[in-house]
């Protein structure tokens, strides 16, 4: 445990003051902070090894290419899949769009695309567009009044709707709920669905084993998992992945080009058309090394302990209502205070150096379901500690006083 409390030191951003107060960063769900090792890897690339990848014969290009492809292998080991099944994209949003576009020819009128009521817009709108293009129906697994999906009802819903496509977040960005995706995926696949799990939030906190999870596609964003911005991952079971048609086309993904006929390479190359985000891939490699060096069980226990402490302190304040599944959570707490507007609370919290997110968190349909115009969201990562929670709680009580005073 003592190790984990030392990790915070690796994050230079956390060592600053905001409005005269030490920064209390509780917005890791939006983007995680980066350990020095990741920053150094990006820096090293630009100061020493900067070159384009693939096709270059010179040493810089070869070094860059080798390193770039090694990170793909590292990621594959991390996820327990094959490197060929990992496509670099520009983010989780891009990854989902790639799949949704690629499934166009596989759907027709009346087919069901099934998602849940707590998805991020990035895991709603591409499916809505796919439905509009193909005549498929978008159906929704509902949440209860706390924003929680009941697994049995969800399984029944899958059984009933017999989806052609099933997409579900591994963990909710707004509420932190961990979905029972393994059961959902198994059920949906049994009924012949193509399954996609949105791991944008879960990846850092749960370190999924995709061979076990057995979903067809899994997406994530590096920037939410200690890595640089502008990089995402699309994992896909090789046959399904390779069967998707090309998405964007260009230099790197072709086999031969003539004005009359062009042939494409196989996955993952066929989905990586232009110069990739090389520096981000190398930075993400450093992030994976960093994660690999930490005992995951201890880390997970630490995060969960911190989360429980947060919830307990939050709930001790009269008028606070916390949404979501408080048992099964990646460490994200979404709450309201009486009828106060999240905007006011967030602004006041910021004046104490506390960075939280407020609003609909790109989950407007969930907000509509919960009959809210927004919440305050506190999202933890392992580099947070009890001092952060205490500082937050004290800022929150002061803010409430300011508002009510």
């Amino acid at each position: 445990m003592s190790d984990i409390t030392q990790l915070r030191k690796d994050f230079p951003t956390l060592k600053q003051t905001i409005e005269g107060h030490p920064l209390v960063y509780l917005d890791s769900g939006a983007t995680s902070q980066k350990p020095q090792a990741v920053i150094d890897a990006v820096n090293l690339f630009y100061t020493k090894n900067n070159a384009n990848v693939h096709r270059g014969l010179h040493t810089l290009s070869e070094v860059a290419t080798t390193q770039y492809e090694k990170v793909r292998e590292k990621l594959a080991r991390f996820l327990d899949v094959n490197a060929m099944e990992c496509v670099w994209t520009s983010g989780a949003t891009h990854s989902i769009n790639l799949v949704a576009a690629g499934l166009t020819s596989q759907l027709s009128t009346g087919d069901v695309i099934l998602i849940t009521a707590l998805e991020h817009h990035a895991n709603i709108v591409p499916w809505q567009q796919l439905a509009a293009r193909t005549g498929a129906k978008l159906e929704i697994i509902s949440v209860d009044e706390h924003g929680v999906i009941n697994s049995d009802l969800a399984l029944a819903e899958i059984q009933k709707s017999k989806p052609k496509v099933f997409a579900c977040s591994h963990a909710s960005n707004t509420l932190g709920n961990i979905q029972d995706v393994q059961a959902f995926v198994a059920k949906a696949k049994e009924l012949g669905a193509i399954t996609l799990v949105d791991g944008a939030q879960a990846f850092l906190h749960l370190r999924p084993n995709l061979r076990q999870l057995d979903c067809d596609f899994y997406v994530l964003s590096a920037h939410k998992a200690l890595g640089p911005t502008g990089l995402g991952v699309l994992y896909g079971k090789y046959e399904l992945l390779n069967a998707l048609p090309v998405y964007q086309t260009g230099g790197e993904m072709i086999d031969t080009v003539s004005f009359t006929k062009t042939t494409f390479r196989q996955a993952p190359a066929k989905f990586e058309p232009g110069t990739p985000n090389i520096s981000a891939v190398l930075g993400f490699g450093a992030a994976l090394d960093y994660l690999n060096a930490i005992n995951f069980d201890a880390l997970h226990q630490y995060e969960q302990g911190l989360y429980q402490y947060l919830i307990q302190r939050l709930q001790s304040i009269d008028g606070i209502k916390v949404y979501g599944d408080l048992k099964n959570n990646i460490g994200t707490a979404s709450f309201t205070y009486k009828n106060e507007h999240h905007y006011d609370l967030a602004m006041l919290l910021n004046s104490y150096g506390v960075a939280v997110r407020s609003g609909h968190h790109c989950t407007q349909p969930l907000m509509q379901t919960l009959n809210l115009n927004g919440t305050i969201r506190v999202s933890l990562a392992f580099y947070n500690n009890r001092c952060d929670v205490d500082a937050f709680i004290s800022a929150l009580t002061n803010s409430i006083e300011l508002i009510e005073g």
């Binding site: 409005e19 106060e340 507007h341 999240h342 905007y343 006011d344 967030a346 602004m347 006041l348 004046s351 104490y352 407020s358 609003g359 115009n373 927004g374 002061n398 300011l402 508002i403 005073g405």
Partner: protein, 135 residues
Amino acid sequence: MTYQEIYTKLEKSPSWQHSYREIMLLGKQLPALPEPLKTEQARVKGCESTVWLHIDLDEQQQHLLLVGDSDTRIVKGLLSIVLALYNGKTPMQALEINAYKEFEKLGLIKHLSPSRGNGIKAIVDTIQQQVSQWA
């Protein structure tokens, strides 16, 4: 409250918390807009908060008449500062007002940043545009 009074209150604010308290008090003093006036057309969209603004010209007096509201305390307070700046001015006088400069002097300029997206910047821009048509 006149703008001058507001200015005196906020000018030498010792802390953000103090400013916010004053701003929220200002907001509380601003009468709520009757629900029927909270129309879609009067609505200025901010990312996180909603603001409504009605702007009119008293034809006889040639004075500006502004009323507004917001669903958040802070934005409502900021709005009341903007209204105090412009209300009762002639279009020509209003054109002379530089709300950005005033917010700067009040130490509130960051609330007018485009990235803040709270609607106040949109309000100020709307007023200026409307006024320049009347002036």
